[in-house]
Symmetry: C2
Subunit: 345 residues, 2 copies
């Protein structure tokens, strides 16, 4: 069997040049006086700056750790859909997506884009479709990040099974792109962004799907639940039992043709559980590197988020590992598969 | 080594006679016209009815599964602190606590009480102290259930590290009782009560402690985080890494003298992870039986919530198992330990 292409399906542009954050700060400062605020054309980031921010960071670590290609989207915690209104998010999403697109053009062998959406609390999700279409058609992006809680920790939107989300799903099916279900910064003081809000959202999204028949309406819809699925694999017996009480089909039939989990779990026992409990076909390699946890684990001497090591050390066959590193990503992201095939890969 | 007393530290009175629910329905129906609503004295449940509800359910299963003593508190999903105002909760908590006390009197070898508190959203937690004192002093209860989100899924209260909770903690320290951090029914349609709200709350509570220095102010305060700690053990590397980034001490020093996890994880791989990752001294046996997941696991032929089987099958020494079944509960619940010693146990 040939060596797998190692595809990291969860990378964010967390290292963008400082000018991006400064532009956003200006936008936020002038939320109520947008005429005074920075224009899109005020943001100038050169290709050299982009190159530098990637070569010194993500690309360096990808080479060191042995991953080949990252599905690259705007920084999740910076999406902050709760700030401002639809116009605020639309402008900000367009800027952030364009930067990821430029990175994918500068490093076509190592990065391919996924889009953030211009969501805004209380605004019809259908309003995101023009940006989604632009990212797929003009930028060749292969997936989207869908925020189930644009309020930032107040959870004021309906569950993912609500028909209000259906326009997004219809476009996803039309373009054959998956969504990573990913919240952004919590502005609720109860929830630490990366320590509880992210994980809670993962569990919540899974359960919203479990209690509904969403995938009967959209049999080919695909959701990738990040951070190893939140609490779900650890409590797999609980979820199997809850589905049983609700007279739902077995989870493998009810959800596992449509829901996938990434491997952003930052210690060996967690990855061992994930790969033991969840069928291999539902697990996609990911690190979210240079993200929530950037340090070195004193217990191992390696970076917490160097998840490739955990996959290598897990009790998996070469075939399983091939699926987790490459095969499953090609299945879940058909446009990625097509792009690779076009390159003869 | 002698056989451990098997102490289930997480039992709720989920099988109370129907009259209790009917009384509550009456209370809720007359929230705005309490004069029309049922009086406390309208609720009449005989000792025989209590006996029957326990003998046919919890006690039968305890005997079948081999657990000896349950720390027994009012049904968690029925606390519903978001309903009505402080008076609503005060009356309801008093009724529910008294029933658990009566069960503990009818079956003194098998049940000992833990109290629900009359919390209400936006009301000073100090208002709960009279009921807490009554339950400890008059009912001999050994712990409390503390709801970090009395709003029922809207998360409008400050984090557990906020000084507004301190009056409760001062009483806990004074009486040497722990709190199980346990939410109630979700009235937010985003969150399924037992499938996501419970687990999210567990993770959230842990992270609220991690980011704070609460246990510097209360070095002997003890929190029991139920449902196996939500997502925490599965993501233990993430939490270690986040603490490290925040320059907090190692989790074993920062939190594990004060935070404990129960074993309400309903499959073997989850219990294996829990007992591998979390020090034995921080794991307390529990089942939450006749609770969220009441069915039989077709993969094993046994009840999902028969957690004693998983502990028996986990890679643990007899000494570890003794601690998980008995020793740790005596440490975390000193009043339970004292009550047992008084019986010569």
């Amino acid at each position: 069997m040939r060596q797998p292409l190692v595809i990291d399906c969860h990378g964010h542009y967390t290292t963008a040049p400082k000018a991006l954050e400064e532009w956003r700060n200006g936008q936020v400062a002038n939320l109520n006086t947008p005429d005074l605020g920075p224009r899109v054309s005020d943001l100038r980031i050169s290709d050299d700056e982009l190159r530098e921010s990637i070569e010194a960071n993500q690309l360096r670590l990808m080479r060191e750790r042995g991953s080949d290609l990252t599905i690259f989207s705007p920084r999740a915690s910076f999406m902050a859909h709760h700030i401002g209104n639809f116009e605020t998010s639309a402008t900000w999403a367009a800027i952030c997506n364009e930067l990821c697109y430029r990175v994918s053009q500068l490093f076509p062998d190592n990065f391919i884009g996924a889009a953030m959406l211009p969501q805004s609390p209380g605004v019809d999700p259908a309003s995101c479709i023009p940006e989604l279409e632009r990212c797929v058609k003009e930028y060749g992006m292969v997936g989207i990040n869908l925020n189930p809680d644009p309020s930032g920790g107040h959870w004021t939107s309906p569950p993912l099974s609500s028909r209000s989300w259906y326009p997004i799903y219809e476009k996803m099916v039309e373009y054959d792109i998956p969504a990573m279900i990913h919240v952004s910064t919590s502005c609720n003081p109860c929830f630490h962004t990366t320590g509880s809000h992210y994980l809670n959202a993962d569990t919540t999204a899974f359960m919203q799907c479990l209690t509904s028949d969403l995938f009967k309406d959209f049999p080919t819809l695909k959701f990738l639940i990040p951070h190893g699925g939140g609490a779900v694999p650890y409590h797999w017996g609980r979820f199997r039992g809850l589905a049983q009480e609700m007279k739902k089909p077995l989870l493998q039939d009810h959800l596992l043709n449509n829901i996938f989990f990434d491997t952003c779990v930052y210690h060996q026992p967690g990855i061992d559980l994930l790969t033991k409990v969840i069928p291999t076909k539902n697990v996609l390699f990911a690190s979210e590197m240079i993200g929530a946890v950037r340090g070195i684990d004193p217990e191992t001497g390696h970076y917490y988020d160097d998840t490739r090591r955990y996959i290598q050390a897990a009790a998996l066959s070469d075939e399983d590992r091939f699926q987790i590193f490459e095969g499953n990503a090609r299945h879940v992201y058909p446009r990625l598969d097509a792009a690779l095939k076009q390159k003869g890969l």
